[in-house]
Each structure stands twice: as C-alpha cells, then as structure tokens.
Amino acid sequence: MNAPTEPTRKLRVATTSLAGCFGCHMSFLDIDERLFDLLPLIEFDRTPLTDIKHCGPCDIGIVEGGICNAENVHVLREFRANCKVLIAIGACAVTGGLPAQRNHLDLADCLQEVYVTEVSLSKGGIPNDPELPLPLDKVHPIHEVVKVDYFIPGCPPSADAIWKFLTDLIAGRTPKLGHGLISYD
C-alpha cells in the first residue's frame, strides 16, 4: 500500500512503553523502508526514539504495555491529556498481557518469592528505594484507566498491521485490519 499524500502540517506523534517489553516498538520499526514514507507525514514528540521526557500536545499517542505501577498511571494520564487520538498497541496495553499473568497471585507473595524466598533469585530483600515507582496490586489494560480511541491487538502486532493501521488513520479512514493482520498472539 502506498503512503497517504503529504498533509499541510506534520502530525505530531508520541509513543511510550509502560508495562511492556518494547516488542511493539520493535515491530513498529520493522516497517523498515516504509519509515521513509512515514517520516514526511509525522514528527515525534516524546518517544524512546527521541528521549524527550514529557509529552506535549500531540495528534497521536501510541501506548505499549499495561499499567503495573504508579508511574505508568502518571505517564498514561499525561498521554491522554495531550494526545487527540490515543492508541493502545499490543496485547499488554489491550489486555494486560504477560505482566497481568500475576493477577491471580498476591503481590506481596510475588515480591517475597522473587526477592527473599527463592535462593537463586534473591538479591538481599525487597527493593525499597524511594526512586522506584510502587507496583500496583493488579496489572490493568490501559482502557481501565483512561479512555482509549483505538486498539491494535497482537504480541506484537505485525509491522504490516501497524503500517495498515497508521496509514488508514493518517489518511482519515477508519482503521480496519481484516484477516491476516488482526492477531491476538
């Protein structure tokens, strides 16, 4: 598919990875040479690619990962406050994903097991540095904390799915993935 025609102004895009593994960001970069078609259309605000620390007013916010600690909540709210369109990308942002597999366990038991009980893992007690954000008792998909406009499922979504979605969105069409591009795994 060809990229949409160049708009009068570049769309400002912010991305972040919360309780995720950056796999969705890697899959985004996996659109490869199509990045050259995309870059005339967009410019980046806060993203791991620019290392800007706070999100300013943006057209599109793309959030990877679910919500597992207090900092995730702050970052997500900053994105929602600044982005006209907020997109949840990947299984973790959409469903909680792998981190949410701890949800049927007690958080204190998890920390105890990892940092105290299990000899091969323990490194001197549960970390309590004030710089560390406090974990939440459960991991949540991001739509449980803020309103989300679009969802791209997948672990990660394929580069083709991300490309199809973004080009539809930038061209002003309702993004539609269809068979082969929509995937939950």
Partner: protein, 254 residues
C-alpha cells in the same frame, strides 16, 4: 407446486426440512451464521447466544429456534454483529484468554470469531479469575482459564462417548467446568485420548500433552482462512451420538 418449505434469511429464501433449526437450514443452504457453542454433531445448547438472529422485533438463538415457513430472519446486519461482538468481548473479559502463550492459538474458535467480527479489545474490565489447572492426567491437560462454558465436551462425553466425564457446576458468574470424579481430578476418570470429548474443545481447555506447537503458529487452521469461510464446509454433518447416556437419562427422570 413444490412441497419444500422456506423461510427468509436476510431476504433470501432458505429451504428447510421439518425438525431443522434455523442455523441447521441456513448452514446447509450455504449461509453462515456466526456461532460458538453450536456443533452439528450434538444437541443444541443455546448458551453462548453468538448465533442470535432477529425475528420480527425479537431476538432468538438460531441454534434452538425451529425453522418455520414464512419466518423473516435477520442475521448479517450491523445490529446483530454488534451484539455478537459484545458477547465475544464478554467471554474474553470473563476468563483468562492470554493468546500469546496458548497452544490453541490459531486453532481456537473463540479467537477466530474475534478476528472475524473485528474484536480489537475486550472493552470490559477484565475479571482475571483464579482458576488452577488440572495436569493430573498423564496425557491430557485441563486449563480452566480458557473455558467459555460451551458444554461441547459435556455433550460429547455424554452423547457420544457415554462417559459423562465433564459437567458444569454452579450458577451465574460462579458457573464452571468440573470433572465427574470423587477427587475432581481428570486422572480419576475413564477419559481416553480417542474420546470425542477430547477432540471438540473449541478453545484451549482440553489439551493433549506433548503436542504443543508441533503445528507451528502461522500454519494453523484459521491462519489459512477466516472461520466464516470454513464453517460452511464443516457444518452439514450427521449427529455423532444417539442422545444422553443411560446414567444421565436416569438422573434426569428422577
């Protein structure tokens, strides 16, 4: 004048034989109605409601609705598909459906239905229930996290295998799949790998051990074509069993 009776499905005439349900006649005539707990080989259960259609101003599960001459049935409409999408979303939010780690991914009817209906998110608050697995059986794993209470294993075990290994217990949100053994464990039943009940699970609850990802992701059933394109070839089949097993009939009579 022909003796064949017909009803209208989305404006098209569908012939039916007396005793057929709406979904049976529709599938036999080459018209797909999305469904999950319906299976051509077993008695209809009518629980998942994904096959819901509109008849007049009312909705009905087409797997339990007897076909009648002159019915005007609406199925492939935005209204019905929106409703089906919501039902599938609720199933995803209610269980622990973590597709990236599921051996059934790509062969799963719930997942395939989600893809086909364009379900991008469960939308609802996920319940994250605590459902321990049963790995007691040497050849089979039961992962209750993915159970959608379709009762296909219950019906297959009863109607075809004559063993009634599985059952549903509890009511409402507490309803869950159980194993009919005093210990509640699968190893204490006479379930066999060749049982129909082991073959029919549409999701990843009843899994054969040591199979895993032998069939790779990407080369699986619903990777090739969507469930709507496969259901038609799959559906018109004769019932596999001859009704409830003797023990169940007896229990129901009491």
């Amino acid at each position: 004048m022909s003796d064949t009776q017909t009803f209208l499905l989305d404006g098209e005439e569908i012939p039916f034989a007396p005793g057929q349900t709406v979904i049976q006649a529709a599938l036999a005539a080459g018209h797909y109605i999305p469904h999950l707990c319906y299976h051509p080989e077993f008695k209809p259960h009518g629980s998942c409601k994904v096959c819901t259609v509109k008849v007049g101003n009312r909705t009905a599960a087409s797997c339990t609705l007897p076909a009648q001459a002159g019915l005007e049935v609406e199925s492939a409409s935005d209204e019905m598909n929106d409703l089906r999408r919501t039902l599938v979303q609720m199933l995803f939010a209610e269980g622990n459906h973590f597709c990236p780690s599921c051996e059934k991914s790509g062969n799963c009817a719930l997942q395939a239905l989600g893809y086909d209906l364009g379900v991008m998110t469960a939308g609802f608050r996920h319940l994250f229930p605590d459902r321990p697995v049963d790995a007691s059986h040497p050849d089979l794993l039961l992962d209750f996290n993915r159970c959608i209470l379709c009762e296909l294993c219950v019906r297959a075990s009863c109607e075809v295998d004559g063993k009634c290994v599985f059952a549903l217990s509890g009511r409402g949100i507490d309803k869950h799949l159980i194993v009919n053994a005093p210990s509640g464990r699968l190893e204490d039943t006479d379930v066999a790998l060749t049982d129909k009940a082991v073959q029919v699970c549409p999701v990843g609850v009843i899994l054969k051990k040591r199979v895993g990802f032998a069939q790779p992701i990407g080369a699986r059933r619903y990777d090739a074509s969507p469930i709507s394109a496969q259901a038609l070839a799959d559906a018109p089949r004769a019932p596999a069993g001859d009704g409830r097993c003797a023990a169940c009939e007896e229990a129901e009579e009491k």
